[in-house]
Symmetry: C2
Subunit: 233 residues, 2 copies
């Protein structure tokens, strides 16, 4: 699980920061939800000061908005932003893959090979497990290319997209496709065919993006249908 780092020697601000972000990822706080510093402080058994510092950070990172003297809000879905983040993600990962292919030594991709280049019978088929592994796959690609700043930026983008990407692994065929595409990308990188690896990666991400968009629109449509009668009294 991608839970908090070591709890030892961590400031309250950091703990609250991580907990709030996790609540957003888990949909415990839904996009558009409003809340107050006091609520959060009580829920996390802290005072408003560390809560405010955590919220200030989350605001800067685009997870929440502050409403002047009127509470806070989980940033509502913004598909335009998601598209921009996907595009940026592709740019960074393509650059990372190119670097990996042109690296002097051999890039360290063992962890990825051990998970993704396995016999069909050894594959995981649990949605959440594969989703997490998928995220690690892409993060690892960027980390392996050796540019820490690039990895940091990419990590932030990944977190911003996490809320929406989890939708992609609710269906079995997508898991299958992910295995095949990741395997192909890895093999192409190992063969150091930069151009092709970049193309494969781009298609892979864009397919996932398209799938997410499709399902999201479907969900929104259904939600609208279901909740249509707001009050029957």
């Amino acid at each position: 699980m991608l839970v908090n780092q070591k709890a030892e020697r961590m400031s309250l601000t950091e703990r609250v920061y991580g907990a709030l972000k996790q609540e957003i990822f888990d949909f415990a706080l839904l996009p558009g939800d409003r809340f107050t510093e006091k609520e959060v402080a009580e829920r996390m058994s802290a005072s408003r000061t560390p809560v405010r510092e955590a919220l200030t950070l989350l605001q800067r990172e685009g997870f929440v908005d502050v409403l002047f003297r009127a509470g806070w809000q989980v940033k509502p879905f913004d598909f335009h932003k998601f598209d921009q983040l996907y595009e940026l993600r592709i740019i960074l990962e393509q650059a990372a893959v190119r670097k990996l292919c042109e690296m002097d030594g051999k890039p360290d991709l063992d962890a990825l090979k051990n998970f993704w280049l396995v016999a069909a019978s050894d594959r995981q088929d649990d949605g959440p497990t594969v989703r997490e592994a998928d995220e690690r796959f892409h993060i690892h690609l960027v980390e392996a290319c050796g540019n820490e700043e690039m990895a940091r930026v990419h990590h932030n983008i990944t977190e911003r997209l996490r809320i929406i990407r989890r939708i992609d692994f609710t269906q079995r065929p997508r898991i299958e496709a992910t295995y095949q595409e990741h395997a192909k990308i890895l093999r192409t990188i190992i063969k150091r065919r930069a151009e092709q690896a970049q193309l494969l990666l781009k298609s892979h991400i864009e397919e996932s993006q398209a799938e997410v968009r499709k399902i999201t629109l479907h969900m929104l449509h259904e939600a609208r249908q279901t909740q249509s009668p707001p009050r029957s009294a």
Copy 2:
């Protein structure tokens, strides 16, 4: 001048945040300098609370470090980090230029053309002026490509590099070279020759990077020579 945005309706936290960052850019706070929250609070006529919030943000963005119960420190020079940031900057700007060349409509580059595509007699030759225009040139390229998230990330990187880039415009030949290279890049983008524009941009940034490194090493060398006798008593 790249001074604070409108002072009206800006929180103290934001004001302190901007002022501190500007002090770092202006070398009023030197890399490695240590300071306390109380000092800053008094200097900015604020309490520690907004100062802390501003510092928390600056820490997350890599401008300062906190020393547990022992004050704060302006992040010392780290040339390895600078190299990584330069590399990331090239990746983003190359992607932006490609987008500009492949855009449907005509990209909005008028402001850049008006400054950089002028007769030699109309050129600016003041170091700081050209330095600022240079920064705007690169920022504008990324903004013009239309991806706001990309522009945001690129803007942050630009600010992290600002401290060191100003060194590049202390010499007349570099100003001359900047004019010629920017002009060439602009013309190539207008002609929509993506590949060549990317190459020109990369060379341009790397030349500037090399120049900065050369001068910095020279300055460090001189500084070391000058300050060699730490105490003569």
